[in-house]
Structures are given as structure tokens and as C-alpha cells.
């Protein structure tokens, strides 16, 4: 089928509802009419001029008897990526993705040139994972750029990028990245299968995919890892994980995920092992404090005064005297206050947020205590627990819910209830395996070899084997 350049261009315009940003330009190439179509906002003008328009206009060789499309492709277009489309729809798809279409009169193919304008913000240190020592590069919203950041670190033929397109409307590019000889094939296939089966209008961020990748959709607990840093992603891939990069999102998802990952920090690998062991233990204690402290406090107040040393009991008695609310309501009130302040703080513009945190923390807290609405120990306990959340920022949202449950149980059943709650959570998480990896590994099940990088950390040269806690290719367990 031969095409009529002008008519087809009109046809495409119509199909795209005469979109205002769709530009076209008709050029006479010898005796052939050529129509160029492109979306102005996503097309690199410089590239368009230099690689298409200038060569096209200045071309003076003899073309008689030659196929114009071939001449254009081979002799005129100074572009890296030139594609020929036989059907209109795929050409339109490419046009939407940033290609410039060249419609040649009486030709049977449409030429597509990649002239996508990549608008990226500068590579900056991601706010969610700041490091003291170590690389500061973070992913951006551009998939190509992100892949470039990874490629810069990985010069191996083993590194594989599998491209997918997800989203009926957005047709978002999704890259599944992994090391072929390290990743577990079953896990990889399962991830690909799940991604390919996604039926959704649009994928605006990588978190849109999380629900499709989780085994237990309604669970409170995080089941998919994420990172904003290429060094972390490569580190995780070297352990056998698979990364999922979504165009338009600086957050890269990683699978399989185990709880220990959030206890680890990229800084850990750039610091002294003894210090790291100490810090990781601190993080673990922090988790326990963050989740249980308010619950235990309320339990002690309501049920177990006999556990408290007398002097401490007197201090609490003196400071809680005259508070109009019951201890349970008091703690709930402070937690609510804290959560409101938190929400307001992170959503507010930075310059205003600073003032807000001072108002919230100092004035509100102080006034509430002075007014006798809440007691100082309760404020201190909730504040301490609130601060401790952010020792492990990756789990903060889960912890705040668990803390609330802990408070309710502590107030209803006391320490005994909290202990049962802990066993329940442990029991729940012990069975929370996904993608062939146990959630609480390498503690339960205990994996001796992986203790080198769990709560304690040994030096890099001592970690000769890849972790067994997560599913990876067992034939390739030695780190080369």
C-alpha cells in the first residue's frame, strides 16, 4: 500500500484529535512530497534541525531510480535511531513517545526518528537516603538517564535490561534489570509474568506497580524494596535481586525484599564494621522502642505500677496528677497531635515547615503540659518513639500503625497483651515469605553464612558468598 503524505498526515492529526502541540512541516524532496510530523514539547529542536531538516534541504545527490525511503534512511538522516513502520498505529505510538515521523509520498513505509527531548533535573543526592560517606548520585525521573547511571557502574555482559510498556494510556516504559547469572530465574519469570499481566490505564510512579508485585496485597508490611540510589541498586542486584525502573519515577523497586534490608543503610558499607554493628543494633533497639514504648508506658501506668522503681513511680504520679483525661485518652491525644504535626510538616513548604515544627513541638507541647492537659512523661514517651521511627525511615509508616495498635493493646490488656502482640507479629512475619525468600531471614530461618551482614557486619573481603537469605542463583554463590 502506497501512502499519500499529506492525506496520511491529516489522518494522523485527526486520530490525535488535532492536538495543538502536534506540528507538521511539508518539504519538497526533489519531486517527492515529504511530510514531517512531531510533538513540539517532546521533540529536541536542535536534533530535528541538525539531523533531519538541514540534511534534507541540503541534499543534492542524484536519487533517480532509487527508493526515497532508503535514500532518506541511509544517506540523509543523521540520527542514531531510525525505524521503519509498516502500520500506522505503531507509527503513532512512536510519535507519542517522542519520535518524529517522516511521511514520504508514494512510499509503503513510514520513517520514525528518535528525537525525544530528555528533560531531566540534575542528578542530586536523594532526600530519602542521605549518606555521610559514599556516592551521592540519585536516580532521576528519566528511565534512560537512570539506566545510564547503572550502566556507568556495571560494565558486564551479564547485566540485562528487559523493557516493558505498561499502561494503556500512559504507555510507560518499565525496565526490569538484573544480572543474568546471579538472579533466580523463577523469581525473574514470576516478576515478568506479573508485570506483563498488569492491565492499568497509567503508571505514574513505580509505586503503582507495588500492588501487582506483592504476594499479600492487604498486608500492612512492606513487601517490595525501593531505592533512589544507583549504588544501592547495583549492590542489591549483585546479591541476586531484580530491579524495576519506571520511566517518570526516581524510585526503583527491588525484589525479593526481606525486612533486614531496611535495617541496612548504604552508609554501612562505607563505614567501619564495628561501628556498623553498633549502629545496626541501635536500629533494632530503636524499632522496638518506637513501636512498643508508648504501649508499655500506658500498660505500666494502668496495670503494672509494681514493676516501676518507687522513685520513678513518684515522679510519674506527681507529673500525672490533675490531668483531666484518662492515661489512654491522654496518649491517644498526643499521638494524634504528633501525627497531625508530622503530616502538616512534610506537606508544607520548607520555609514554612521550619516555623511550623517550632510551633508544634515547642509551643503546642509546652502549652499543653503547662495547661495540665497532658503530662510531661507522656509527651516525652511519644516524642521519643516518634523520633525513633526515623532511624529506619523505610518502615516509618508501618511503625506508626503498629505503635497505635500497641497503645490500644497496652491500655486494654497490659504488658501481657503487648507480649502476645509481639508473638503474633513475629508469627505473622515468620510466614511472610515472598519470591522464595523468608521475610525475617537470616534470623528465622537462621542462616549462618548471612550473619556476616545482618545485625553485625564483617568486612567486605570476608563476605565471599552471596546471601542465601534471598533467592538467587545457587550455582553462582561465590562473589568473584
Amino acid at each position: 500500500m502506497k501512502i499519500d503524505a499529506v492525506k496520511t498526515s491529516e489522518q494522523i492529526k485527526k486520530k490525535l484529535h488535532d492536538s495543538g502541540d502536534l506540528k507538521s512541516r511539508n518539504v519538497q524532496f526533489f519531486d517527492t512530497q515529504i511530510c514531517i510530523l512531531y510533538f513540539a514539547p517532546i521533540t529536541d529542536n536542535e536534533l530535528l534541525n541538525n539531523t533531519l531538516l538541514y540534511p534534507l534541504i541540503n541534499f543534492s545527490d542524484e536519487i533517480k531510480g532509487k527508493d526515497v525511503v532508503e535514500v532518506l534512511r541511509d544517506k540523509v538522516l543523521a540520527n542514531q535511531e531510525v525505524t521503519l513502520f509498516s502500520d500506522l498505529q505503531s507509527a503513532i505510538d512512536k510519535l507519542l513517545a517522542g519520535n518524529t515521523l517522516i511521511l514520504v509520498d508514494k512510499a509503503d513505509k513510514i520513517i520514525g526518528c528518535d528525537m525525544e527531548k530528555i528533560t531531566v533535573r540534575a542528578v542530586a543526592e536523594p532526600p530519602t537516603s542521605v549518606v555521610i560517606k559514599g556516592p551521592r548520585e540519585g536516580f532521576t525521573e528519566s528511565l534512560k538517564f537512570n539506566l545510564a547511571l547503572i550502566r556507568k557502574r556495571v560494565k558486564s555482559d551479564d547485566f540485562v535490561v528487559k523493557m516493558l510498556e505498561i499502561g494503556e494510556m500512559t504507555k510507560t516504559q518499565v525496565a526490569v534489570v538484573y544480572f543474568d547469572s546471579i538472579a533466580d530465574k523463577k523469581v525473574l519469570n514470576e516478576i515478568l509474568k506479573r508485570l506483563q499481566s498488569i492491565k492499568i490505564d497509567g503508571v505514574l510512579d513505580s509505586h503503582f506497580l507495588v500492588a501487582y508485585l506483592q504476594r499479600n496485597k492487604k498486608s500492612l508490611f512492606k513487601q517490595v524494596g525501593d531505592t533512589e540510589k544507583p549504588d544501592i541498586l547495583v549492590g542489591k542486584m549483585l546479591e541476586g535481586r531484580v530491579g524495576i525502573i519506571v520511566d517518570g519515577s526516581p524510585i526503583v523497586l527491588t525484589l525479593p525484599f526481606i525486612l533486614l534490608e531496611d535495617l541496612q543503610n548504604s552508609d554501612d558499607y562505607y563505614s567501619q564494621p564495628i561501628r556498623v554493628t553498633f549502629v545496626r543494633t541501635l536500629r533494632l533497639v530503636g524499632v522496638i522502642l518506637a513501636v512498643l514504648l508508648p504501649g508499655v508506658y500506658i500498660a505500666l501506668e494502668l496495670y503494672h505500677y509494681k514493676i516501676l522503681p518507687t522513685e520513678f513511680l513518684i515522679t510519674i504520679m506527681n507529673s500525672t496528677q490533675g490531668i483531666p483525661f484518662s492515661p489512654f485518652i491522654e496518649i491517644l491525644f498526643i499521638i494524634l497531635l504528633f501525627e497531625i504535626l508530622y503530616e502538616a510538616n512534610i506537606r508544607m513548604p520548607q520555609y514554612f515547615g521550619m516555623a511550623m515544627s517550632i510551633v508544634g513541638a515547642l509551643i503546642l507541647g509546652e502549652t499543653a503540659v503547662n495547661a495540665g492537659l497532658v503530662s510531661p512523661p507522656a509527651v516525652m514517651i511519644v516524642a521519643l518513639s516518634g523520633i525513633t521511627f526515623y532511624i529506619i525511615p523505610g518502615q516509618a509508616s508501618q511503625f506508626s500503625i503498629l505503635r497505635l495498635i500497641g497503645v490500644i493493646i497496652g491500655a486494654s490488656l497490659g504488658i501481657y497483651g503487648i507480649l502476645l502482640f509481639c508473638v503474633f507479629i513475629l508469627s505473622y512475619l515468620c510466614n511472610f515469605d515472598s519470591y522464595k525468600s523468608a521475610y525475617l531471614a537470616p534470623t528465622a530461618p537462621y542462616i549462618q553464612d548471612d550473619q556476616k551482614d545482618s545485625y553485625m557486619r564483617k568486612t567486605i573481603d570476608e563476605m565471599k558468598k552471596r546471601p542465601k537469605s534471598i533467592a538467587n542463583n545457587k550455582q553462582n554463590e561465590i562473589r568473584r
Binding site: E301, H304, Y305, L313, I314, M317, N318, S326, I408, A411
Partner: protein
């Protein structure tokens, strides 16, 4: 049948369907949670007792308790309340009624027993308090002289104004003067042992004149507390101020009844036999040799190693005690101290001094053995040692002489070695 089964299955499935389970769980959580909204802190609903004093006066049990009371004024944190009744239970209840709160004894660190109740027998009181009222068995147990409320108030004042605590004062003793911890558990162990001997610290109550300078007391005892009855006796004016004093006296209890009091001096002598009481001093007089000239020397015991070897020879029990002492010379008192005492690098632990120390200590030990024999109290653990190490012979011996006089027929051999710190 099959239809019924499927029906039951369907019903079960509907009951345990995820949606309904959420409903059930929500109801359950509500059942647990709703009461918590109105629940006050336990420290407000219970009268938290930190010390309880019990005595018997005119056939009635009288109790006084120090109750923790919330107050911004820290001096008002310990309030004393008292009550009386036919039995201990009634007496405690009467205090409860006066305060309008249940009494909570979980924080009760001290149980003090008056002279009258001690001489009548303390086991029932202890049993009631530990079993029914849940007083911890590690609560310090003391006997006291004086009025119940006065004593309680004086101890409360110690807490308030001097930051001193009776339980710590008494426990501190154990390194120096007491033969063992003075708490309910150790008293039980002593009581249930074959010799049925219990020990308790004795704390006295008196006025400043009575105690002269060695008192541990508050200067303004009347300011604190809201005792219901006998408050006045602690004195508002200063004349009647009552103080407590721990002079190291230990009350001995036989079969749960007060038997005899040991003075500090006697306790110290008994302590020579006890490994736990590591500290102590020995004062010897009239030491004369190339260094000392009729000197009075105070020797500090730094370390004590006691080994007791019970044995039988020709049917006679031998209780051999080897004492190894490491000492340090604390003070030397001479009329005209010579320059020799100031010389460096000189061993001041001379043979003459060692001989004096040995003589003094052996004398002390003999005295305490005599004290035990005279009073028929086995303070030194003679029974326990023979029973454990020479069981058969000892049982034969007991059959021969009887349980009462077994201390008399024993040959006590004492060997003391003294060495200096270096």
C-alpha cells in the same frame, strides 16, 4: 446427612468468612478497648504502700502505712495513715476505709514489726502479708521499738527530708555488722531450718536526747504527712521529735518469736565466723615491741577467708575454724609516739601485734561461742555444717545429747592467721 453436613459447612464458612472475621475482631477489640478509655492510672486508684508497721497494743493489731501520694510538693509524697482492728486483715481494711482506696502492697519495701507482735510470734503476720497482700518476700524486715505511727512517720521523714531510706540503711549494714540480709525470705529460711532461728535488724525510736549525736533523723519531722490518728506524737514543736536509730542491734527469733537481742558488739564477734561480713575492725591494746610502745592499735580487716571443718574424733564433734585475715593498720595510739611509726617501708604488722590480734580475736570467738551455748542459739551454723558434712555421726551425736544441748559438747578449735596488706 450429606445435606446437613454441607449446610453446617456453609454456615461455618459464613461465620468465618473474612468480612465477618473482621467484624468479630472489631467487636472483640471494642470489648477490650472500651473499658480502657475510662480506666485511671493504678497509682490513683490504689493506695500504694511503701512501708508497713505492725504491732499489737491491748489485744488489738495496730498498723501504720506510708502511702505514696501525688503532690507537686515533694515533701507531701509520703503520707502516713494508721488503723487498728481485731486481726491484721481488719486493721489493714480500716486504713483502706479511711483513705477510700484499696491498699496496694506491691511496692512495700519495708515491713516493720513492733516489740509486742515480735514476742507473740511474727509468722502469721508475715504469712498474711506475703500470701494474701502480696508483699514481696525481698521486703526488708525490721523490728522496732516505740509507737507504730511514730516509727512510720520517722521513717517517712527520712525519705522526705534526708533522702535516706531505711531499707538501704539496714541493707548497708550487712557488709559490716549483720550476719545476713534482714528480709522476709531469709527470715523464713531461718525459721524453717531445723534450728528455727530467725534474725531481724532492730531499729530504735527515740528522742534526740536519748540518741545523743549518733542519730539519723529529720530536723522537722512534723511537717510532712497527714496521719489520721497518732500524728501528734511525732511532735510539731520539736520537743517530742522522734528519731530512728540503727545501732546494729539484731533481734533473734526462735520459732518465730522474739527471743533475745544481740548488741552490736556481740554481732561483730559473731561476724568473725561469717564469710559474708567481710569488713570489720579489731582493736588491740598494750602492744609493745621494737616499733610499738604500749600502743593501742586499730586494725582494719580488709579480707577474711574462713574455712570451717567439722569432724568427729572418738565420738566427739570437733568444730575447727580457720580464719585467714588480711589486715591494714588503721590507727596507732601511743602516749608518746616515736619517730619509728613514721618510717617508710617498714612492716608494722609485727609478731607482737599479730599475737595480740590473734589473742583478741580468739577471745572474741570464745565469747560468742559461750554466748551461743548459754542462750542455746546456733548463730554460727554449727548444726548446718555438721548436718551437711558429718551427717551420720552428727545424728548419732544428736541422739546422744539431744537437740537442745548439742552446742555444749562440741570441741571448738580456732586457728587464726594474720597477714598484712602487702
Amino acid at each position: 446427612m450429606k445435606e446437613k453436613k454441607t449446610e453446617i459447612k456453609k454456615k461455618l464458612k459464613s461465620i468465618f468468612s473474612p468480612k465477618k472475621l473482621v467484624l468479630w475482631l472489631s467487636i472483640l477489640i471494642l470489648i477490650f478497648t472500651v473499658p480502657a478509655f475510662n480506666k485511671s492510672a493504678m497509682s490513683q486508684t490504689q493506695a500504694i504502700v511503701t512501708m508497713l508497721c505492725v504491732d499489737k497494743i491491748d489485744d488489738k493489731i495496730k498498723v501504720a502505712a506510708t502511702v505514696l501520694t501525688p503532690s507537686q510538693d515533694k515533701k507531701a509524697n509520703f503520707q502516713v495513715y494508721s488503723g487498728e482492728g481485731e486481726t491484721l486483715g481488719y486493721a489493714v481494711d480500716s486504713v483502706s476505709l479511711a483513705i477510700g482506696k484499696e491498699m496496694g502492697f506491691a511496692q512495700c519495701k519495708i515491713m516493720a514489726l513492733g516489740e509486742n507482735i515480735c514476742s507473740e510470734g511474727v509468722m502469721q503476720v508475715l504469712d498474711y502479708m506475703t500470701r494474701t497482700k502480696k508483699v514481696g518476700r525481698n521486703a526488708v524486715l525490721v523490728s522496732f521499738t516505740g509507737g507504730v505511727v511514730d516509727f512510720t512517720q520517722a521513717v517517712a521523714n527520712l525519705n522526705l527530708e534526708k533522702s535516706l531510706r531505711l531499707d538501704r540503711i539496714v541493707s548497708f549494714d550487712k557488709r559490716y555488722v549483720l550476719t545476713q540480709d534482714s528480709n522476709i525470705e531469709t527470715f523464713y529460711i531461718g525459721y524453717y531450718s531445723p534450728i528455727s532461728l530467725g534474725l531481724m535488724s532492730k531499729v530504735k525510736l527515740g528522742t534526740s536526747e536519748e540518741f545523743n549525736a549518733i542519730e539519723v533523723a529529720s530536723s522537722d519531722s512534723g511537717s510532712a504527712g497527714g496521719a489520721s490518728t497518732d500524728m501528734s506524737s511525732t511532735g510539731d514543736g520539736g520537743e517530742n521529735k522522734k528519731f530512728i536509730m540503727n545501732d546494729g542491734t539484731v533481734s533473734l527469733f526462735k520459732n518465730g518469736k522474739h527471743y533475745i537481742d544481740m548488741t552490736l558488739d556481740e554481732v561483730k564477734k559473731a561476724n568473725i565466723f561469717v564469710n559474708d561480713a567481710q569488713k570489720g575492725t579489731v582493736v588491740v591494746e598494750g602492744v609493745t615491741d621494737h616499733i610499738y610502745n604500749n600502743a593501742k592499735v586499730v586494725v582494719n580487716i580488709l579480707k577474711k577467708d574462713i574455712s570451717i571443718k567439722p569432724s568427729f574424733k572418738d565420738g566427739i564433734p570437733i568444730y575447727k575454724t580457720d580464719v585467714d585475715l588480711t589486715v591494714f593498720i588503721d590507727e596507732v595510739i601511743e602516749e608518746n609516739p616515736s619517730e619509728r611509726l613514721l618510717r617508710r617501708n617498714q612492716d608494722f604488722l609485727t609478731n607482737a601485734l599479730i599475737a595480740k590480734i590473734k589473742e583478741k580475736m580468739e577471745g572474741d570467738m570464745r565469747e560468742i561461742i559461750k554466748y551461743c551455748q548459754d542462750n542455746e542459739v546456733d548463730l554460727l551454723g554449727v548444726y548446718k555444717h555438721f548436718y551437711a558434712l558429718e551427717n551420720k555421726d552428727f545424728e548419732e551425736y544428736l541422739n546422744r545429747v539431744g537437740e537442745k544441748n548439742y552446742l555444749d559438747g562440741i570441741d571448738y578449735q580456732i586457728s587464726i592467721k594474720v597477714k598484712s596488706e602487702n
